[in-house]
């Protein structure tokens, strides 16, 4: 419940186009800033937050400290990425903006998002930190994005220069796995406010995750606080367990199938994948080939087999089938990145196949059409329909679906 005026320094340099934080670094940053603004104004209604951007032609104050969330959201809208970040002048402008805050009883805080490499010297940064400390300004640093080795060291030095009785914090967020806002919620930048901060963090986690199923909420299983909504939490847990049971049964079935295919070379197993992708009119050939290069090819092949079985079910069910299996798969896919990715990709193909329909076209039927498949294969570079491996695959496909007719036609075409 500290009465505080905060200036958020946003990095909108060219480095922010990168997509290693979803959806782009810049968008992840904007989401995080929204969260921070919400947290601050909720912990004390008289807190004010302002935003400025550091790159482009120079530091530009988008909105001076205000407690109106709507204005802040509006200011973040329609920003452009470009230029280089000027950290020192950005922080100085933030300090100036805080100096002219309306309510002098508010403490001063700067939240700095450092995504691009830090160009300033360590000595310059330390001097800047000392000046901030002298003027009673606290500094929170969110270090993400580019890391040229020195960046962490420089930012830590800056933090040590500013820190006065543990009022300043730094968070390092490596790219890839997690969403920027989620990591921030659980970090000291939120909980460093004390009890008020963590109360908001729990509420934010619940509300953010309710919007995106199974996405956010680091603290709770299903993103819903059992204290806030016990029935919803119970319903989610029950449906999750049902889905797990169903998928285990499906895995068992496809595990038996995949032992037959497991001995084949990676190249041949890419063929059914390619065939399916052509049928689904989705060009994922490059992705599938990349996946083949992965170390645990056996796991992937199992996943693909399972996804093909799933695709068969989904194609038969049409309509809402793919949609529900999509969400359930995303939930359970958190365990294994590769598995999740394979499932997702196959669901895309299956959904596309079902919708791009030859009506409620059964994928099996299309695959079973030997002439069509062989014409597709022959049109592909590097695949020879008369290659014994390819023929084996096609044979096993037919036996899976149990179509003796196609077996007979295949024998004829040999």
């Amino acid at each position: 419940m500290v009465l505080e005026a905060t200036m958020v320094c946003m990095d909108n340099s060219e480095w922010m186009r990168n997509g290693d934080y979803s959806p782009t670094r810049f968008q992840a940053q904007a989401d995080a800033i929204n969260l921070i603004c919400g947290a601050k104004t909720q912990s004390n209604p008289e807190n004010t937050v302002g935003v400025l951007t550091m790159a482009g032609k120079g530091p530009r104050v988008l909105i001076t400290p205000t407690n109106d969330l709507g204005k802040i959201l509006q200011a973040l809208h329609g920003l452009e990425v470009g230029g280089e970040m000027r950290m020192t002048s950005g922080v100085q402008v933030a300090q100036l903006a805080l100096k002219h805050r309306q309510n002098k009883h508010q403490r001063q805080r700067i939240v700095l998002f450092a995504g691009s490499p830090v160009l300033a010297d360590k000595a310059v940064l330390e001097g800047m930190g000392k000046k901030l400390k002298k003027n009673n300004v606290a500094l929170d640093i969110v270090s993400f994005g580019e890391d040229d080795g020195e960046k962490v060291e420089k930012l830590e030095a800056l933090l040590n220069a500013v820190n006065n009785g543990d009022n300043s914090h730094i968070v390092h967020i490596p790219g890839g796995e997690r969403v920027l806002s989620d990591v921030l919620i659980s970090s000291s930048i939120f909980t460093g406010d004390g009890e008020g901060g963590s109360g908001f963090a729990a509420a934010a986690a619940a509300s953010a995750a309710a919007a995106a199923v199974g996405g956010g909420g680091g603290a709770y299983d299903f993103g819903v606080d059992p204290n806030l909504d016990p029935e919803l939490a119970l319903a989610l847990r029950v449906s999750m367990e049902e889905e797990r049971a169903r998928q285990e049964a499906a895995m068992k079935r496809s595990a038996e199938d995949s032992t037959a295919k497991g001995q084949q070379a990676g190249e041949s197993s890419s063929a059914p994948d390619v065939a399916m992708s052509d049928v689904g009119l989705v060009d994922t050939t490059d992705k599938s080939k990349d996946m083949m290069i992965d170390d645990d090819t056996a796991l992937l092949q199992q996943a693909i087999a399972m996804s093909m079985a799933q695709a068969a079910q989904a194609a038969a069910a049409a309509g809402g089938g793919p949609a529900t299996t999509d969400t359930s798969m995303e939930e359970s896919g958190g365990d294994d990145q590769d598995l999740a990715y394979a499932l997702q990709m196959s669901m895309q193909q299956a959904a596309a196949a079902a919708s791009a329909a030859q009506g409620s076209a059964d994928v099996n039927q299309v695959l079973g059409d030997q002439s069509f498949v062989s014409s597709v294969l022959s049109s592909l570079p590097g695949v020879d329909p008369n290659d014994p491996n390819v023929r084996d695959v096609l044979a096993s496909l037919q036996t899976d679906e149990g179509k003796n007719d196609d077996q007979a036609t295949k024998d004829k075409s040999k």
Partner: protein, 200 residues
């Protein structure tokens, strides 16, 4: 810049009554810039008898001798003179600059603006020296900002006591000091410390 010793023996004559302006200070609003320990500025405003007590200290950060102390009052006051007890071994401030009724003084402003009055200080461990003000300018003071730009050679500046002598009028400038209205419920402020049983 005048500094005068008391013409009498302080033990016999009650000086304490004169230096009671500290009672009119709004202690919660006292802030300092460049202090090492947050809140230590409040501790240097104490009764006259405790002026030599070196346990309370307002220390500046290492390598930086500058200090700014912002003192708001509960009523408008008239300040006759100021007494400052500094630290030993060169930690005492050597200069003092005063600004009146401004709440936005930070280091850049303190160096740019002309103060209402400035004094050269001497090392004053026992608190016998007092520095009189230009009384005509120090009428109707709602807040006093003191800037100590330098000291007698140490790394940091230590101040143990700041005493103010003068009169308090009854006029208040601001009716409301600092109020936070509960615009929305905040569970962290309403923690129950005891269990209560409800009878069904």
């Amino acid at each position: 810049m005048g500094s005068c010793l008391h013409q009498h023996d302080c033990e016999e004559y009650e000086c304490a009554g004169d230096w009671s302006l500290y009672k009119n200070i709004d202690i919660t609003g006292v802030t300092a810039l460049n202090e090492t320990v947050e809140g230590s500025a409040k501790s240097v405003f104490k009764p006259w008898e405790q002026r030599s007590d070196l346990s309370t200290v307002l220390a500046s950060n290492d390598d930086d001798a500058e200090l700014i102390v912002f003192i708001p009052f509960t009523t408008d006051v008239k300040i006759k003179s100021i007494c400052v007890v500094g630290g030993v071994d060169g930690h005492s401030p050597s200069k003092m600059r005063a600004f009146l009724n401004r709440d936005d003084i930070d280091f850049s402003q303190a160096n740019d603006l002309t103060p209402v009055q400035e004094w050269e200080l001497a090392e004053n461990i026992r608190g016998e020296l007092e520095y009189p003000t230009k009384y005509a300018k120090f009428q109707g003071v709602a807040s006093l900002t003191l800037h100590f730009p330098s000291n007698f050679g140490a790394d940091a500046t230590h101040v143990h006591y700041i005493g103010l002598r003068g009169e308090a009028t009854q006029m208040k400038r601001d009716a409301i000091a600092n109020t936070v209205y509960e615009a929305m419920p905040n569970p962290s402020e309403h923690k129950y410390t005891k269990l209560f049983t409800c009878l069904i």
